[in-house]
Symmetry: C2
Subunit: 317 residues, 2 copies
């Protein structure tokens, strides 16, 4: 057993966002039974926390039109924690009715992105959360929050730390026990991860702070490393790296769950995940969306998978 790298936590908890964040950004509609099959494969690999679907307008996001059916397949399993993204009261009611363990509310740290994403101001978004919070409380459903563009906005550039801190405080005051910093368009860097996590720590005591990185500029796992060096334990990722970046056609989106799990385990951080099974699930995800996914470990295999000497050709270094 490896000792964790200095500063790293002994254990990390991953939330799999492939079924929602990943599949929502893929151009194909994956049939409901195949989504369920994928989640079963991920459970088999040891994952227990899922952002499993989104209760949004089926016209706006047809990929998520089977939200209730997907949730129904796992409803009542005490070993799982199933969250659903909800953009409004109507979505919240549907998610509660369908049995989500937690509702995920989201707004952007930048005004332009919020306007673009949900067609209202940040202030209006936050004001709307109060009613959802009452609904959640009344039904005994937990409330979580995601802060989109926490590390930068594709329209505005840098985002003020104060904007993120204020939003996190507002989330905390609404009773959210888990808050995600979303690297919506891959602008996070190790330095701004460190700066932001350090700024948020004092105001989020008792709240689980989760980091959600995109690998759009190649530094997704380096950003996770930066978070780990501060002892962050909650991360969100997507099997195989499912999901793209809506801003750049050729760029990748979410960091791949199996790559993150590989780095964690190889850094002495326990995850209770089975890497071989994660790789199989990533292969299944690739099959479901019919394109090559950006995950690397799924192609190269685990580190100590040795080759026969006559199976390869090498030439001078």
């Amino acid at each position: 057993m490896l000792t964790p790298i200095k500063g790293f936590p002994e254990r990390a908890i991953l939330t799999e966002v492939g079924p929602r964040d990943g599949l929502q950004s893929e151009p194909v509609f994956v049939p409901t039974e195949r989504k369920i099959e994928l989640v079963h494969a991920l459970i088999g690999a040891g994952l227990r926390r899922f952002e499993i679907t989104s209760f949004v307008s089926p016209r706006a996001v047809p990929q998520m039109r089977d939200a209730a059916q997907v949730l129904a397949a796992f409803r009542g399993r005490d070993d799982l924690h199933l969250t659903a993204l909800v953009p409004n009261v109507r979505g919240a009611e549907a998610a509660i009715e369908a049995g989500a363990d937690a509702l995920v509310l989201f707004a952007s740290a930048s005004e332009s992105h919020n306007l673009k994403n949900v067609n209202r101001s940040r202030a209006d978004s936050l004001a709307g959360f109060a009613e959802i919070a009452r609904l959640a409380e009344g039904s005994g459903t937990a409330l979580q929050g995601a802060i989109a563009t926490a590390f930068g906005c594709p329209f505005e550039g840098n985002v003020a730390i104060e904007a993120v801190v204020d939003q996190a405080k507002a989330y905390r005051d609404l009773g959210m026990g888990y808050i995600t910093l979303g690297d919506t368009t891959g602008m996070a860097t190790p330095a701004n991860v460190i700066e932001l996590v350090q700024a948020l720590r004092p105001v989020l005591e008792g709240v689980d702070l989760a980091l959600h990185f995109h690998n759009t500029r190649g530094v997704g796992l380096a950003c996770a490393y930066a978070g780990l060096s501060l002892g962050v334990t909650h991360f969100e990722s997507s099997i195989g790296g499912l999901g793209g970046c809506p801003f750049v056609p050729r760029a990748t989106g979410n960091i791949a769950t199996e790559d993150l799990a590989y780095m964690l385990e190889e850094s002495g951080v326990q995850t209770d995940l089975d890497l071989e099974r994660l790789i199989s699930a990533a292969e299944l995800a690739e099959e479901l969306v019919g394109r090559e996914l950006p995950g690397q470990v799924m192609k190269a295999g685990p580190r100590l998978k040795t080759a026969a000497m006559d199976s390869v050709r090498t030439a001078n270094g």
Copy 2:
């Protein structure tokens, strides 16, 4: 100007290995004048150190058959440091004749890989270096060393730290002032980077220790982060991520120079490199080899390249 992340050096020096390590692993032969064009583009982006070619058998490695011509195009430029890989005395003589600033000798830290790669034992490799060292000294050419499979062997698995340390000592005793730890098949992890760098420090005082990672399992930049956290200043990388992994068809090889430069600059580590020009060079590299390269920043662009709000479509998070 950013302050470097805690423990990181103020400045890092990159050696571009694309022209040798990268192009050697690509299936196409890039015409000499286009190789020269690529190096000029890289110089324009601020790079000054190049592993520019390899004096190997043109039959074994036809991609490098123009070694002398490539070197001739830059010979005598005092602002550049041009190294050439040499597998034997004959290659060393040719590299000296062609005007290389330094010869790079290489052997693997694992016996199986060395046998496979150069068809001789590690002991025989090291014994052969003595004669090359005399040649280099006689001609006033510097000597560098690369330790292949320093972080693991695809045939043997883990490699003993002692094997790497002993090899580094032997290199040092041969007069090498720059020693590279090569992550030949992408088995480096942040934890073994830290372990190995810490073990080598005491025996390599006065020697430049360089890290050369592959992104085969997605953690190449996280490994660079680990090295940076110990103050390592020398890194090797390949523009666009040129070069593959001979062991896994779909896997990537070298980390991309522009991605590494992006991470360094965004972490407050100065590189004197121009990211936009690196991206242009990566696009040129992509054109030269006729395939999509794995570099990420070349696809997404610099971090603060903002988009117009009407140029993209986003949908709920």
